[in-house]
């Protein structure tokens, strides 16, 4: 079967053909009992699915949902509302056992900052666990909200012992939700969460490392969760989301560049 035929059969089942196309598919079905059987099965499933759930539309809506819908939205945030569409798919995944590890050329690193040898960063496992845990959290995804960004940054900077910066990712559709303090592999770690206007999330994880070094930029993916990670001096960074690699890459480069720019100031 050609892609075009498959496409038309789908549209036939969903009632999205022109009358001429519809007649064309009718002719196929008349000539091919197996194809006709297939279409009947698809239509029967749709009818059964609608029938199986139709009663939900008639149910009285629970009072707690009515009350939730009438609640006041949170007070305005400090962040600009200019949110671009984002193709990033973000969520979480089962982060156990990374199976795919690909390396690619690191973005340009200022010569002065680069040591003689570029080594591979270690995977920061707590970053994955923290991502998985908190992106699924609807009501309390962060400890300190973005409305208290200055406090958030100062507090986490103190705990990690470096001046943290929170890159602006608004041009990629992500605004800061807030952040939290976490236990890292070797000391405290910070997690910043970002979100698109329709709720897709991204986390940036920063942890202190025992040994200062400069690593390449690495990518790993498992169970739909993408992670870029690298180490810069005494700190490890990881950016995680459910986006495909190519979608997350420009965001990761922006984060990397923002951190570097800040070092130069």
């Amino acid at each position: 079967m050609t892609d075009n035929m498959e496409d038309k059969l789908l549209r036939y089942v969903d009632g999205r053909l022109t009358p001429a196309e519809h007649a064309e598919v009718d002719a196929w079905l008349a000539a091919d009992p197996a194809l006709a059987q297939r279409v009947r099965a698809d239509l029967a499933d749709i009818v059964a699915l609608r029938g199986a759930t139709a009663h939900v539309l008639e149910e009285e809506i629970p009072q707690h949902l009515i009350a939730a819908a009438r609640a006041r939205p949170q007070a305005g945030r400090r962040f600009p509302m200019a949110i671009a569409a984002s193709a990033a798919m973000l969520a979480i995944g089962l982060g156990l056992g990374f199976t795919l590890a690909r390396e690619f050329a690191p973005p340009p690193v200022p010569a002065a900052a680069a040591p003689a040898d570029t080594v591979l960063a270690d995977i920061p496992p707590p970053a994955v666990a923290a991502h998985r845990l908190y992106v699924a959290e609807v009501r309390h995804p962060v400890e300190v909200p973005a409305s208290e960004e200055e406090h958030l940054v100062n507090w986490l900077s103190r705990r990690l012992g470096t001046k943290l910066i929170v890159p602006r990712l608004d041009t990629y559709g992500f605004t800061l939700v807030g952040g939290r303090l976490l236990p890292g592999g070797s000391g405290p770690a910070a997690q910043f969460m970002y979100e698109t206007r329709d709720g897709k999330r991204l986390t940036l994880y920063v942890c202190s490392e025992t040994e200062a070094r400069q690593t390449s930029f690495r990518f790993q993916e498992s169970n739909g969760v993408s992670m870029f990670y690298w180490q810069e001096g005494k700190f490890g960074y990881a950016l995680l989301s459910e986006s495909p690699r190519d979608t997350l890459l420009p965001v990761a480069k922006r984060v990397y560049a923002a951190l570097i720019e800040d070092r130069k100031d």
Partner: protein, 182 residues
């Protein structure tokens, strides 16, 4: 991105200044959100938790809502993302469906009840991505383009997932039932 929706089937035009209108607009979306959630989550309790979380997150992010867009599509997208986040957390445990509400809420006879259970069972065994397109297109009757915006994937991806999902549903269909269909 949701300002692109040309069709706004349910929507009124809520604004922060008009809490009553905002509440009404959300409430108008609730029957279909609840139906979608029920097919997605299985039990009534889990489904309404998902709807509640969706409303809460929408209100948290209300400052990002653009007036004149398709509120229902936006709420579906939020629900989809919350469910994807939570489903992965629970991915190792089998989906369980609670059929009590089927018995409570319908006068369907025994045969129809079994048919309802049977299709929900088959849909529940699909992967998250395939289940979403089957429900958005088949149950909600959305255009492929609108489903693509909600899922944030290309239209071609929606169609290929739908094609695979339906093939899987056909494979899993009980043979006896297929013969009955005229």
């Amino acid at each position: 991105m949701f300002t692109e929706y040309a069709k706004a089937p349910i929507l009124s035009d809520p604004s922060d200044k008009d809490a009553q209108a905002r509440g009404d607009a959300i409430i108008a979306c609730l029957p279909r959100l609840r139906r979608y959630a029920r097919a997605l989550a299985g039990s009534r309790g889990q489904a309404d938790d998902l709807v509640h979380d969706t409303i809460a997150r929408a209100l948290d992010r209300w400052h990002l809502w653009r007036e004149g867009g398709d509120l229902r599509a936006w709420l579906f997208a939020i629900m989809h993302n919350i469910n994807a986040n939570q489903a992965r957390k629970k991915a190792r445990s089998p989906v369980t469906l609670d059929y009590d509400d089927l018995r409570d809420g319908t006068q369907a006879d025994q045969h129809e009840r079994l048919a309802a259970r049977e299709i929900l069972d088959r849909v529940a065994t699909l992967g998250e991505d395939q289940r979403a397109v089957v429900l958005l297109v088949g149950l909600e009757g959305l255009a492929y383009e609108d489903a693509a915006k909600i899922l944030d994937v290309p239209v071609g991806t929606v169609m290929s997932r739908l094609s695979r999902a339906r093939a899987r549903l056909r494979e899993d269909a009980p043979r006896a039932r297929l013969k009955v269909i005229k």
